[in-house]
């Protein structure tokens, strides 16, 4: 009993981080099951698993909303940031530990609210985007959507204030800005975007519920509203949200590449000030590419085609830094590195296939097809998730003081990697060749894609096997893995200088950083 109390009322950033991890992985399992149900439904033409399209649409809603709001953002800016930021900057905790505990509570309430979808009689069926007028006229419970977004968004804003303060004021003595881990910079960028854009999303979803339940008409054109206002507000947040997920996962990747190549981050300052901050700055000027076929003015679509293409510059610089970090390295291939390299490949495919989607004249055909679904699953779903897995494996010995099984870690990786490519490569291919639209309960109008749909459903099962192996590996490793040393990867980064798992307060006395130290100061072996 006291153990439970200790965890629920904890203010220790490491425990808060692990709570975030447990909550987000639970959300991932639920949303993953939704994906499997959808793949089962789509494995053949006509009703397969359910005869009711609304049931399918609820799965679709739950999959998208829970994956993004309940898994990706909390796992990266909740778990990874909480666990690692104080350790990486040499702080004993975050600046506002109680606020931190409050943020994880809000997150759990948000997840519980999201899970109520499966209990209430009229679950939301508005997709994770909640576009009006459908969201205001559906019999589904749009309020549940609104309040899930608000709770998790609020948790995120609190965390943003907390972490920016922590990084600004609680760095170890001698830790200058240019000695921060790349991951720390990516979290700064991420939370700066959260603070700027989350309130816009909060406003948008709140206005939907006002329209639906209180009789206002913000989005009702029949009384002077405008349906496009919502889409603009929504994507004004939700495109930057992609980078809120993207930056930390690139941050994790960079840490892993540097550690397992025993090299400094290639061209660190350019990756930070050009790559990371370049993305933060451009992120708010590209949202129209989600509205390329929504009847926005033609000149605006062309303008944001150019800004969207410009994203390739900071992303390209970061990619060069990632690949360059391998140069003259001393590369080993433990499970985290395997995930790291796999993520790099998937992110390359996902990033490059985004370039056609930046071009408005190509998007008039590609938009809302399986091509789009394939593309963003490569970037967000697969690369993002594999980066999170990479991070869990990487910091596993630090978090638990124990070691997972390398063999099962690698087996799990290959299942996930192969399954992901089977699904999402096929998806992009189908989308370009036939224009098969997404969000279809039944593809009766496209009988020619039946084989591909079946293949994708098999791919989903392969991923599910891979993830089950991974999850069991974590649980068994944490329960009875062999004892790990304090720094099994031989990393120079500060989080590995304390014992595993670190005690409350992290170090017996505050670490002091030497003049010639930096988190990547490896010596030639």
């Amino acid at each position: 009993m006291s153990v439970i109390k200790e965890w629920v009322f904890t203010t220790d950033h490491k425990r808060v981080g692990i709570l975030y991890l447990i909550g987000s992985v639970a959300a991932f399992v639920v949303a993953g099951i939704m994906a499997l149900l959808m793949r089962a439904e789509l494995s053949a033409i006509g009703p397969t698993l359910t005869a009711n399209p609304t049931t399918y649409n609820v799965w679709l809603y739950a999959h998208g909303a829970i994956m993004i709001l309940g898994f990706q953002i909390p796992a990266l800016t909740g778990f990874a940031a909480n666990y690692c930021i104080p350790l990486m900057i040499g702080a004993k905790d975050v600046a506002f530990p109680r606020l931190n505990a409050f943020s994880v509570w809000l997150f759990y309430m948000g997840v519980i609210l999201a899970l109520l979808t499966f209990v209430i009689p009229d679950p939301p069926d508005v997709l994770w985007t909640g576009y009006p007028p459908y969201s205001t006229i559906t019999t589904g419970n749009t309020a549940l959507y609104t309040f899930t977004v608000l709770l998790i968004g609020f948790a995120s804003i609190i965390a943003g204030v907390n972490f920016l303060t922590t990084i600004a004021y609680m760095r170890a003595q001698g830790m200058t800005w240019n000695k921060l881990n790349f991951f720390v910079w990516s979290i700064i960028g991420s939370f700066v975007m959260q603070l700027i854009y989350v309130p816009v999303l909060g406003t948008a979803v709140l206005l939907i519920s006002f329209d639906k339940y209180l009789g206002t008409n913000f989005f009702d054109p029949t009384i002077g509203g405008d349906v496009l206002t919502y889409q603009n507000l929504f994507w004004f947040y939700s495109h930057p949200a992609v980078y809120v997920i993207f930056l930390p996962f690139i941050g994790i990747l960079m840490e892993i590449l540097a550690t397992f190549a025993k090299n400094p981050v290639f061209n660190y300052k350019v990756a930070v000030y050009g790559g990371c901050w370049g993305i933060v700055i451009i992120s708010g000027e590209v949202w129209i590419h989600h509205l390329y076929v929504s009847g926005m003015p033609d000149w605006l679509r062309i303008g944001q085609m150019v800004t969207t293409l410009l994203i390739s510059v900071p992303v390209g610089l970061i990619t060069i830094s990632m690949v360059g970090t391998l140069y003259k390295g001393s590369i080993t291939f433990e499970t985290p590195m395997l995930y790291g390299l796999g993520t790099l490949v998937l992110f390359l495919i996902g990033g490059l296939t985004g370039i056609p989607l930046a071009v408005t004249s190509l998007t008039v055909n590609l938009s809302e097809t399986y091509y789009v679904v394939g593309h963003f699953h490569y970037v967000m779903a697969v690369a993002g998730t594999m980066a999170i897995f990479a991070g869990v494996y990487y910091w596993f010995p630090k978090m638990t003081g124990k070691m997972y099984s390398e063999l099962w870690g690698k087996i799990g990786f290959w299942f996930t990697f192969v399954g992901a490519n089977v699904i999402f490569w096929t998806m992009m291919d189908v989308g370009v060749r036939t224009g098969l639209p997404r969000r279809y309960y039944d593809f009766a109008a496209f009988p020619q894609v039946a084989n591909e749909q079946y293949i994708m459903s098999v791919g989903a099962i392969i991923i599910a096997i891979g993830f089950t192996i991974t999850l069991l590996n974590w649980i068994i490793g944490a329960a009875r893995g062999p004892k790990a040393s304090d720094n099994p990867w031989g990393s120079m980064s500060l989080e590995w200088t304390t014992v595993s798992p670190p005690p409350h307060g992290n170090w017996p006395k505050p670490p002091v950083v030497a003049e010639d130290w930096n988190p990547y100061a490896y010596t030639k072996r």
Partner: protein, 267 residues
């Protein structure tokens, strides 16, 4: 809370009146017109641009992938080789490694953007010699109105060899009129007029399908474009027009645009 809010009826009563008033906007929407008489097929342009961009991203992808695989293989730790601890770049090298790639990426971006813009102008500038049809979408059908007042549902008959312009709106949720074979779609939504055009050149049948989540039956909201030989189309069009004239009962008003010719007739 089933059935929405208790305030809902306020909106629905006022809504019908406002929608009826939305009609004339159909005619006023400005659409750039191409008076040169030369018709460029946007679908063929799409294929060309897609190939160009696909080659472009494949080259980039292969360069990065080969570099990664090569480095991973060459610098793997093995007996007899211990690397790591690379020196940080000199200032000159750091600047070169940022400025040169930036210029390459920018050049590529502007190359793609220029090509994209060129096609965009084709896609959004409608040839002056065109057939103009109004589309009102609803849950879950596509309702077309021809210049002579003929209405069809889920079946758009058009003559081969003539550019077709659709002016679109919706009476309920947002829909998106997608023509996979003509590589074009555009949303139709309440309170706004949007447009798209396509160029059917040969007789045949093509799919129309909805690509904006519009409700429970979204995936069944399909229709057809039937491209007829010009003479056959003309016969059908005139015959339907005659039928309409003879029909005594006035057209039921769906709340969409009522064609001007039809109004004069019934007056």
């Amino acid at each position: 809370m089933k059935g929405g809010s208790m305030f809902k009826h306020w909106k629905s009563s006022a809504g019908a009146a406002a929608l009826a008033a939305a009609g004339p906007a159909f005619a006023e929407k400005y659409i750039p017109s191409n008076d040169s008489g030369k018709i460029v097929d946007p679908a063929a342009g799409w294929e060309r641009l897609w190939t160009t961009v696909l080659i472009d991203i494949t080259i980039l992808g292969v360069i990065f992938a080969v570099a990664t695989l090569f480095l991973v293989w060459k610098y793997r730790r093995r007996p007899g080789y211990e690397g790591g601890g690379a020196k940080p770049l000199s200032t000159g090298a750091a600047v070169a490694w940022s400025v040169i790639p930036t210029f390459i990426f920018l050049a590529d971006d502007f190359y793609i953007a220029a090509n994209g813009w060129q096609l965009w102008n084709v896609q959004r500038t409608v040839p002056a010699d065109r057939l103009e049809i109004k589309l009102e979408s609803g849950m879950y059908s596509w309702d077309y109105t021809y210049p002579n007042g003929v209405r069809t549902q889920n079946e758009l008959k058009v003559p081969a060899g003539k550019p077709i312009l659709l002016r679109m709106t919706s009476r309920d949720t947002i829909h998106s009129h997608y023509l996979p074979d003509f590589k074009v779609k555009e949303d139709s939504m309440p309170g706004r007029i949007t447009y798209l055009w396509f160029y059917p050149q040969k007789p045949g049948e093509h799919l129309v399908t909805c690509t904006e989540y519009c409700g429970v039956m979204h995936s069944y909201m399909a229709g057809k474009v039937i491209v007829l030989p010009p003479a056959e189309y003309k016969a059908w069009y005139e015959q339907e027009g005659e039928k309409l004239k003879k029909a005594e009962a006035p057209e039921p008003n769906h709340g969409g645009a009522k064609p001007a010719a039809q109004k004069r007739k019934s007056a």
